[in-house]
């Protein structure tokens, strides 16, 4: 299976819910990620889109090794990395870069930009001395910052600039895979555009793969080759970007797409927005059968009892719904 850069099989992450302080008793689980499979090739971007409770952020943490899976396997460059200890992961981590959501807390306020961007290099002892300085200066210029910025501290920069610093840090060791968790959600519209453009430019230039996580469909559309739609810990649809937007199959995907407003008065006045009933259920108590059935307009009796599996309806377009079984 070494044709894939990243491969995830039957990945599960359940968080125990405990009661009591000294003798903790487990009274339930939060089924944050419940048996998902996906893969990313070299020079490919997979976007994972979902709302709160979908488990998408947990997926990012699992891939990065910040959380240990409850079960399932993760393969990176053909090697299984699922339960590797921190020390064994060291080599693997050099090939992954991470960008987090909140520019205000993802940079150490006590470190200069030079130290922040250079941290992966320093820790892994890749370069030193003037070679290191040259590499860091190069990184910072790549993301649109200046030499003088190296001596500055995070609080002196705007949100967009902070994300640029975070991107420079993620690129420090020339990673094969970048994991970006809501990289532009905290930014203004005009700044979002700049950061998205920067990310696409860098992607084309350095040919890294990306796992992009966002709740914003338009962001995911702009950057991704493939998209996975997650709902309550499960992938309900997985296809190429084009296919998902031109032909969404899963009722949740359809609702999601029609709920995203566009800046056009005429379109919005005419649009039949598929509004879902009810709220997103709690991940500790998912509905039986298909998790989406209580809010779905197309439920059939089977949906309450049997959980649908992801099937390929053609052209590598996967969907988990009894309508297509």
């Amino acid at each position: 299976m070494s044709e894939f850069l990243l491969q995830v099989n039957n990945l599960k992450k359940y968080f125990p819910v405990t009661r009591g302080t000294i003798l903790k008793k487990i009274i339930g689980y939060v089924y944050a990620v419940d048996d998902i499979d996906f893969s990313i090739q070299t020079n490919e971007t997979l976007g994972i889109v979902g709302e709160s409770g979908s488990g998408k952020t947990t997926v990012a943490k699992l891939i990065l090794g910040l959380l240990q899976p409850t079960s399932g396997k993760i393969f990176f460059e053909g090697q299984e990395i699922t339960s590797k200890s921190n020390s064994k992961m060291k080599e693997i981590r050099r090939k992954m870069g991470a960008i987090f959501q909140d520019p205000f807390s993802s940079l150490d306020p006590r470190k200069s930009v030079y130290k922040i961007v250079g941290e992966p290099i320093t820790y892994h002892k890749v370069y030193s001395g003037s070679e290191k300085e040259r590499v860091i200066l190069d990184l910072v210029t790549k993301v649109g910052l200046k030499k003088v910025d190296l001596n500055r501290y995070p609080h002196e920069f705007s949100g967009g600039q902070k994300q640029r610093i975070a991107i420079a840090r993620a690129l420090a060791l020339n990673p094969a895979l970048i994991i970006a968790d809501e990289p532009v959600s905290a930014l203004d519209a005009s700044v979002q555009a700049k950061i998205l453009n920067l990310m696409t430019d860098l992607k084309h230039k350095y040919k890294f793969s990306m796992l992009l996580i966002s709740h914003d469909l338009s962001v995911v559309r702009y950057v991704s080759d493939k998209i996975a739609v997650m709902y309550l810990g499960k992938i309900v649809e997985l296809s190429s970007s084009e296919d998902l937007f031109s032909n969404p199959l899963h009722p949740y995907s359809k609702a999601l797409l029609s709920s995203v407003p566009v800046p056009s008065r005429t379109v919005m006045l005419k649009r039949e927005v598929r509004i879902l009933k009810g709220e997103i259920p709690s991940a500790s108590n998912p509905p039986p059968g298909c998790r989406f059935h209580p809010r779905c307009y197309y439920t059939q009796p089977i949906c309450e009892k049997v959980e649908p599996t992801l099937i390929d309806v053609g052209n590598n377009h996967l969907v988990a719904c009894h309508l297509y079984a």
Binding site: A193, S218, S259, E279, I280
Partner: protein, 324 residues
């Protein structure tokens, strides 16, 4: 009886801080008619929230409305006494805030929070107000209203909290509802529910809406007319169709810039057009037209003279020296 519900003329609200004067709202004028939905759009720091707070006379510490008029149903709100404003706030003008978790009292039951407002403005008895609040909870689409009324805000989801805020805002049949980023912290499918709720309630009560947001698409969805704000000034006012659906119509460069940089769900843009530069620090707003350092068509006059509002078509105003 004036045909305009709200008319703001030359409003200026400044913040007097140790570092200097922040001209958060710097000569803002617009009108909202009866039964009209109006959007006030801009990115962070442009002054849109402060405008709303100025209308409600809730400008925070260090801020002060220094000049201008806010005519609401014919009366200037700025000249009113605190007691009179309190009577208007909540009954004739209601506000929905951005973050329900901080705008709802965490130690008070939901039902009581709604009932409290009803009691005050509609002079009903305690029991009647409670009944009415349960009605409203139902009306905003929350099931099991009598049970929910006994719960506390933290026990509800974000979407439900926002609906409660709407319930409170609607409770005394206001003539104007001001909604400040009502769906920013809410999932997109829940946003759709809340927007539908706002539309329905507006139709029933025929109240006007002032929607404040950075999300242009939301404005296209809800509003008939909108104003685009930048660095404390209004750069363009027009109706939604003119601004969103007529690409050949003249527009303010900032508005065109904003529209061009929104990634679209419905087709993959090759590259997002960007607006160069960044939002200025409000303590150091550029002289002349505040947008000129970032504007592609700026010329020498733009750095000297603040452009006057020009009416390019009926009801379409642009503040630019070079509008075609």
């Amino acid at each position: 009886m004036s045909k305009e519900l709200l008319k703001i003329t030359n409003l200026k609200t400044y913040f007097f801080t140790r570092e200097g004067v922040t001209k958060a709202v710097n000569d803002v004028s617009f009108k909202i008619g009866r039964n009209e939905a109006f959007g006030l759009v801009g990115e962070s720091g442009c002054g849109k929230t402060v405008t709303a707070l100025s209308i409600m006379r809730l400008v925070p510490y260090l801020g002060k409305t220094v000049s201008g008029q806010i005519f609401f149903e014919g009366e200037d709100l700025i000249k009113k006494s605190e007691t009179d404003i309190r009577r208007i706030r909540g009954s004739r003008i209601s506000m929905i805030f951005q973050d329900p978790l901080t705008s709802l009292n965490p130690t008070m039951k939901i039902g009581n929070q709604i009932a409290e407002k009803i009691e005050q403005h509609m002079h009903l008895s305690r029991e009647e107000a409670w009944e009415e609040s349960i009605n409203l909870i139902n009306l905003v689409g929350i099931p099991d209203s009598s049970e929910k009324a006994l719960q506390y805000p933290f026990q509800l989801s974000g979407g439900m909290q926002q609906r409660i805020m709407i319930a409170i805002a609607l409770s005394c049949s206001p003539h104007l509802i001001i909604a400040d980023e009502p769906t920013t912290n809410v999932d997109v499918t829940i946003q759709a529910q809340i927007i539908r709720l706002i539309r329905e309630k507006r139709e029933e009560s025929k109240s006007s809406l002032l929607l404040i947001t950075h999300n242009l698409a939301l404005v296209a969805w809800l509003c008939d007319r909108l104003a685009v704000m930048y660095a404390g000034k209004i750069m363009e006012i027009g109706n939604s169709e003119q601004i969103f659906d007529k690409p050949d119509e003249p527009k303010h460069p900032y508005t065109s810039g904003l529209l061009a940089c929104i990634p679209s769900v419905h087709h993959r843009k090759r590259k997002l057009k960007m607006i160069k530069g960044s939002i200025p620090n409000l303590l150091e707003v550029p002289l002349g037209c505040p947008f000129h350092p970032r504007c592609e068509i700026a010329e020498e006059v733009c750095s000297r003279k603040v452009p006057e509002p020009i009416e390019v078509e009926p009801a379409h105003m642009i503040r630019c020296h070079f509008v075609r």
